[in-house]
């Protein structure tokens, strides 16, 4: 139950962050070049991502032995989580500027100004944007869902976040610049690094005291280390 909660949380938060970034691209293209091709591109990318989840998810759950799965996927999740955490620390410390949705929005619009074949360009930019942003979500969903034997829980978390972000985008019709992306990435980084360490070490053959409760201890450890890193390198926040 506890592991499933972490699985859902990681998939939901990870998907929310990437959906906000994908939404910015789709909004910029849709509002400047028309919705038809933009939505076709978005739907095509979502179908491609769903195929990846079904294919790789099924292969991982059905074919790979549990200990191998935990060791290999656990290691990959640790690397993935540490990368997000590393970036989040640098942003929190003011060494790297926070991701600016409004700036991304303006950049996408200026890219579109020189385009001639309107429909094809709108389709391609939306497809590419949604697909590339979605790859990280696909990895999170397959990795945490497959390893915890909770693929449906992870898929539900990812889908719910995507639907929530899309619905908000339809209502407000502008980039969701107020979403605290760095905080979300920070949280996902800690959850994934903790889950990855938990599964990776289990895959090595070790036993954790109190089973999944150890994930909370790991999360506290990584949170403490990241705050220590932020304190050590803190600078004034960049504009």
């Amino acid at each position: 139950m506890g592991t499933q909660l972490f699985t859902f949380g990681a998939a939901f938060l990870g998907s929310a962050v990437e959906s906000v970034e994908a939404l910015t691209i789709v909004l910029a293209v849709g509002l400047t070049r028309g919705w038809r091709s933009s939505l076709y591109g978005t739907v095509a990318a979502l179908v491609a991502l769903a195929v990846l989840v079904v294919l790789f998810g099924q292969v991982i759950v059905a074919r790979v032995p549990e200990s191998t799965l935990k060791l290999v996927i656990g290691t990959l999740i640790v690397l993935f989580g540490l990368r997000w955490l590393h970036k989040a620390i640098l942003r929190s410390a003011g060494l790297v500027a926070h991701h600016d949705e409004e700036k991304s929005y303006e950049e996408t619009i200026s890219e579109l100004k020189g385009a001639v074949r309107q429909d094809w360009v709108a389709f391609t930019i939306c497809f590419k944007g949604v697909f590339l942003e979605g790859l990280e979500v696909v990895f999170i969903v397959i990795a945490v869902g497959g390893t915890s034997k909770g693929l449906p829980v992870a898929v539900a978390g990812g889908l719910l976040a995507m639907i929530a972000v899309a619905a908000t985008g339809v209502v407000v019709r502008k980039p969701l610049a107020q979403v605290p992306e760095n905080t979300l990435k920070y949280a996902v980084g800690i959850i994934l690094t903790s889950l990855g360490t938990f599964w990776g070490v289990e895959g090595m053959g070790a036993i954790w005291p109190l089973d999944f409760v150890s994930i909370f201890v790991l999360a506290a450890l990584y949170f403490g280390a990241s705050r220590l890193a932020v304190t050590m390198i803190r600078r004034p926040v960049l504009a």
């Binding site: 690397l79 590419k128 790991l218 050590m232 390198i233």
Partner: protein, 68 residues
């Protein structure tokens, strides 16, 4: 072709931000595997976690120095 290249670099970029940090993390996990397979002690995994956390602090500090 351009899209495939972007997708490939996106996939590698999922796990690698800085090659040195990635290699150090893999070395820690490999060393952990060696130790865990020899010493069957409950909770030994926390040593791996502490090493990874220390690596995170050191790597971000080094990057901060590089950017200074």
């Amino acid at each position: 072709m351009k899209f495939l290249k972007a997708a490939a670099s996106e996939v590698i970029g999922l796990f690698v931000g800085d090659w040195t940090q990635t290699i150090v993390s893999i070395v820690i996990l490999a060393a952990g595997w060696l130790v865990v397979s020899r010493i069957h002690q409950i909770g030994i995994g926390f040593i791996v976690a502490v090493a990874l956390a220390a690596q995170l602090v050191i790597a971000t500090r080094l990057e901060a120095r590089r950017r200074a």
